[in-house]
Amino acid sequence: MDVVLKADDLSGGYLLVQKGSSEKNEVYVDAVSDVSLQLERNEIFGIAGESGCGKSTLLKMIYGLLEPPLILRGGSVTFITVDGEIPITSLSENDLRRRVWWKKISYIPQSSMNVLNPTVRIRDHFIEMFTFHARMTKNEAYAEARKYIDQMGLPRDVLSAFPHQLSGGMRQRVVIALSLLLNPNIVLADEPTSALDVISQKVVLTMLEEAQKELKNTLVIVSHDLGIHGVMTHRMGIMYAGKIVEIGKTEEIFEDPLHPYSEALIRSLPKLGDKKQRTGLGGHPPDLKKPPSGCRFHPRCPYAMPICSRTPPKMKMIKPGRYVACWKNSMEE
């Protein structure tokens, strides 16, 4: 396995100060709990799971974007380059900005409007990137931006537009173009198409996929939509309540989900052309301010055993490349 980034026992969440009546009250949202995972070179890795399970938080932590109230509680993220290892979790924001962000790892946040300054023309977003990171003059940068826009298959007139003048799909393609500009090793995309219709979604995802194929880098896609993982990702991790519960090849997980939560998610998916009765899950995901004891899925799990509410199951390799954190899977064999 050719690993480009690894997270080891990564934990983090939001430390909130609640204004109580008298004493100061600290509340911790346990959004990412003991997550270990490895990203390979030249792959599309998916992070799946329902809203609020910690996908965006995990992605931010991998990027090293620790803005308050988000804090790192433990564990580490290491970026592995040909010249050695870069410990993301111990770099200052300044160092990350200089050495890692955009150049080595780029990040597309959940809302593209968070990347594009609404008062700045698209053209100037590109020019700024070139002048800051590639030390070009403004004129050189502009010429380069025009060439680049053509290459990415975007119409040239987007350059003179302001972000709000573009359709959601076009804006997202611009953000993707920006994120790929400096040829990063890793691209982290958080729900890159959740605001888009299926057809625009496909156009945007195809752009990401083609770029990955060409650059042979690592693309991480966070999406709550399992369908997207089904058509895009090579491997995926499924998250539930701050934990990764299963990791494996996407096709294998869909064919034979091992964790009861993965199973429930996949079983609940309606498919065009298949009228078979589907069943969902009872209950609802826990409040991460007070996650359940033991396995966090146990209150909703149809297979729960006494141990499940007592001790959290560890991630276990079931077969090469396939990891599951579940007592049921650990007992069998």
């Binding site: 329902e50 809203s51 359709s167 799909g169 219709d197 299926v198 057809i199 625009s200 979604q201 496909k202 156009v203 995802l205 195809t206 709550h224 939509d225 399992l226 369908g227 997207i228 993982h229 089904g230 058509v231 895009m232 996407t250 869909f254 429930a264 998610l265 996949i266 609940s268 998916l269 309606p270 498919k271 065009l272 052309g273 298949d274 009228k275 009765q277 589907r278 069943t279 969902g280 899950l281 009872g282 609802h284 995901p285």
Partner: protein, 321 residues
Amino acid sequence: MSEENLLQVEDVSKIYGYGFLGRVKFPAVDHVTLSMENKPKIFTIAGESGCGKTTLARMMLGMVKPTAGTILYRGKNVHNLKSKDRTWFLREVQAIFQDPFDTFNPLKRVDTYLYETASNLLKLKNDEEIRGKIEEALRFTGLSLEEITGKYPNEFSGGQIQRVSIARALLPKPRLIVADEPVSMVDASIRINILNMFKALLTKTGTSFIYITHDLATAYYISDEIAIMYRGMIVEIGPAEKVLLKRHHPYTQALVKSLPEPGKKEEWKTRVNAPGMEIKEFLSPGCKYADICPHKTERCVKEKPPLFEIGDVKVACWLYE
């Protein structure tokens, strides 16, 4: 005849103003005709955002007045109801919206709201009776009065509050529920429970549904009939099975091809064109899909295709003349 139909939408259009000053007028809903028999059925209106689904739904609910055309509910014009009929209509037809938090007043306890709705809509005075009706409705959605009592909307998860809003809609035992994207903000594992609930209501209480969605997979799962809309017009309408599996209209084809589904990697990879400019397409005198249609001819740009019949499916495309 129309009186036998549960719902009859006849050549309905809604013109809106576009942009900042709204000087450019465009048809958000453009000559739509459809009907629902008076039998328990789920009729789906599907299409991408901005195609006019919500506008059409609001017209059906009597909340937005059509610019042209009429909507009859069991023979009565929903935009011209006398006071007695109005009360009757408000009980017979209920709505469920995409964002369940819109249904509730954030400052009012959810159970209080249900009590008020029950006593207003059902004209009940007796507390015991009201409580009984509320419990019955909640039970159907898998909730209990106990669970929701004393809580404000923000104390519920999205899936839970949508179930409460469904319970609210069930209170007057409606004959028709218009559900506008009821599950698009709900998590996948819970989404299917709500859809199953609709199916159960259909068989147990005979309630019909207008299910509005942008998601063809859920549409296939629950609908009997479906209309696919693009830029205000119906491009294809008929039995859901045939519309979604035979796919006559090039737009229906593009939609289905773009649907990401596990195991359909290869099919999904085939190229489709990105949608064109919204206002330009809305104002086109011809087929509104022509701009990006792979089968476009000169005629498509100039002349709007009528609905051509292919068996029991109708398709608005010159390919099927």
